[in-house]
């Protein structure tokens, strides 16, 4: 079984982003970029499936400008076998991403597609589900455990009330949650090896997908900042403030 993993280049999670003074967007100039943490978990899961014998090949795909090849190489260093970049000028909207991925799925015929549950920049949490609908495949979103069982997969999901386990017929879509695994660190020899792994570049036109805009970004603004309050010296003072100043007790 082949596993396809979709990976996205995003701002490093340690960086606090700033809004541009003209409110047109956030300022990403000279900001450290990285593999989306949920995508890293997705790659790790695919590689573990390969190591356990459940998967035969791990293919990673990223959609975006040339710079996203860096994140494909990171995924290859973590153990993926080959990469596909779909070259676009910007990062396309989720439905376009899903349509491009659907074409890759038609070509590659993976038994499982693993995506992150959300990207930490746009925070949309939708691409995997959209891909599932386009392909008419079942989905196990927000996965904290993935167990292949013959021609189906059991996925345990993190839901609002706790955990839920579903059985999905393969081929299926999985999106990762934080507790699915702890990704490994790439070792230097693996990083060197990754440079020689195959990486194909395609365009949306190659795949016959026309990108369409579904939204228009009108403005990006800074959120209302919270002011730091006061230090209280004791529990008694805290209780007094909550009762008499904030009046919430």
């Amino acid at each position: 079984m082949k596993v396809l993993v979709a990976v996205k280049r995003v701002i490093d999670y340690n960086v606090k982003v700033r809004v541009k003074p003209d409110n047109s967007d956030v300022d990403l100039a000279n900001v450290k970029m990285a593999l989306n943490p949920f995508c890293e978990i997705a790659v790790e899961e695919a590689v573990r499936l390969k190591e356990s014998g459940a998967a035969s090949e791990v293919v990673v795909v990223s959609i975006g400008p040339k710079a996203c090849q860096e994140q494909i190489r990171t995924a290859l260093a973590l153990g993926a076998d080959r990469g596909i970049q779909i070259e676009t000028e910007e990062l396309p909207e989720s439905l376009n991403v899903a349509k491009l991925l659907a074409k890759v799925v038609e070509e590659e015929q993976p038994g499982l597609v693993i995506l992150g549950k959300q990207s930490i920049d746009a925070d949309n949490n939708q691409t995997g589900q959209m891909l599932g609908a386009l392909l008419n495949r079942p989905q196990g979103t927000f996965a904290s455990e993935v167990k292949i069982d013959g021609d189906s997969v059991n996925v345990t999901r993190e839901v609002d009330g706790g955990l839920q386990t579903l059985n999905l017929k393969l081929p299926a879509i999985v999106t990762t949650d934080l507790r699915l695994n702890e990704p490994r660190y790439a070792k230097l020899p693996d990083i060197m090896k990754a440079k020689r792994k195959p990486l194909d570049v395609k365009t949306p036109a190659d795949l016959g997908v026309e990108l369409k805009n579904h939204t228009r970004l009108l403005k990006v603004s800074a959120p209302a900042e919270r002011q730091a309050g006061i230090r209280v010296a004791s529990v008694d003072e805290l209780i007094d403030k909550l009762k008499n100043e904030a009046k919430v007790l």
């Binding site: 982003v17 956030v26 949920f38 989720s94 439905l95 959300q118 930490i120 925070d123 949309n124 949490n125 939708q126 691409t127 995997g128 589900q129 599932g132 609908a133 386009l134 079942p138 989905q139 979103t141 927000f142 904290s144 999901r157 993190e158 839901v159 609002d160 009330g161 706790g162 955990l163 839920q164 386990t165 579903l166 059985n167 017929k169 949650d177 934080l178 507790r179 579904h214 939204t215 228009r216 970004l217 009108l218 403005k219 990006v220 603004s221 800074a222 959120p223 919270r226 309050g229 006061i230 230090r231 209280v232 529990v235 805290l238 209780i239 403030k241 909550l242 904030a246 919430v248 007790l249």
Partner: protein, 309 residues
């Protein structure tokens, strides 16, 4: 055209997240229809019919929808949704699971987790862990939207007497099946709706120590939450995680106990009315957003606080 709202429920009760979503939908248009899809959920439909502002309830009562499986539910919602201007659901794990499928089936985008309605086609949503707010306009004829509950007041659960119409289509994709669930049982209020939240982080040291926070929460009629670090370490279950990638809360008082205040955690609680932080490290970033900061060992401060309230 009317707006279709997807009710959040467990086949027996209507969840409060639905009421916040109704308020958001009210700002998009006048005619609100509420879809109750489930199995044996007639009581939910009855409750839905009295929610203020709702003029019609659609009841899809079928085994295929009993577990809210996204594969089945999305087929139903997309079929009904064709005739609406907006299809709106709470941004709960159910809404997040189902709605993007609906959007893709309708060949439209989804606007996730909105916090304000500027016009029927223009919405605000947080991006980058809430460090920026995007104003986005939908260019689609049908707008598929999920709503952040804490950003909208709850609609009154009474006041209306809408008709309840049964809708027949039973869609069973036949590709997914429910196996089991492990649901947290608690007599405390739901985290996302509680007026007091007491959250603990890695500083608690282990799961047993969360009992300190539980007794404080019980005294105040509140819920207990946690940081990702506390969940990852296995102190408490995943459904307690507050943050960018967990639950969003905005109670009257939020206690952050033994939590450092990473941006991902702040994303889930910084809209709380009053934030109290208890941390032994006076440099902890949580103090930059707290209204009342107490530099103290939590193992002394929390029991003292509990006993003096």
């Amino acid at each position: 055209m009317a707006i279709l709202i997807i009710a959040e429920h467990d086949n027996s009760t209507l969840k409060s997240a639905t009421l916040n979503t109704v308020t958001a939908a009210c700002q998009m248009g006048d005619e609100l229809h509420l879809l109750v899809a489930g199995e044996g959920c007639a009581a939910v439909a009855e409750a839905a019919a009295s929610v203020a502002g709702v003029s019609k309830v659609l009841l899809a009562d079928n085994a295929a929808y009993g577990r809210q499986l996204a594969e089945n539910l999305s087929l139903l919602i997309a079929e009904l949704g064709k005739d609406y201007s907006h299809v709106v659901a709470p941004a709960t794990t159910t809404g997040k699971n189902v709605m993007p499928r609906v959007a893709a089936l309708l060949d439209v985008g989804q606007i996730s987790d909105i916090i304000a309605v500027e016009a029927a086609d223009t919405f605000q949503r947080p991006i980058y862990a809430g460090n920026a707010i995007a104003t986005v306009q939908s260019l689609d004829s049908i707008k598929v939207i999920t709503v952040r509950g804490t950003a909208f007041d709850a609609a009154a659960s009474t006041g209306s007497s809408a008709s309840v119409d049964s809708v027949s289509p039973a869609h069973d994709a036949g590709t997914s099946a429910f196996v089991s669930e492990e649901m947290a049982k608690s007599d405390r209020p739901e985290l996302t709706a509680a007026s007091v939240v007491v959250s603990g982080g890695r500083g608690l040291g282990n799961g047993e120590n969360f009992a300190l926070l539980e007794s404080l929460a019980d005294k105040l009629g509140g819920a207990v939450g946690a940081s990702r670090a506390a969940v990852d370490a296995g102190f408490v279950p995943n459904d307690m995680q507050v943050g960018q990638t967990g639950k969003i809360v905005a109670p009257d008082i939020y206690f952050a106990v033994g939590i450092s205040g990473a941006i991902q955690h702040l994303a889930g609680m910084k809209d709380s009315k009053v934030i109290v932080a208890i941390n032994k490290d006076e440099e902890a970033p949580i103090f930059q957003v707290a209204d009342y900061s107490l530099v103290a060992d939590l193992f002394e401060a929390v029991p003292e606080l509990e006993s003096k309230l």
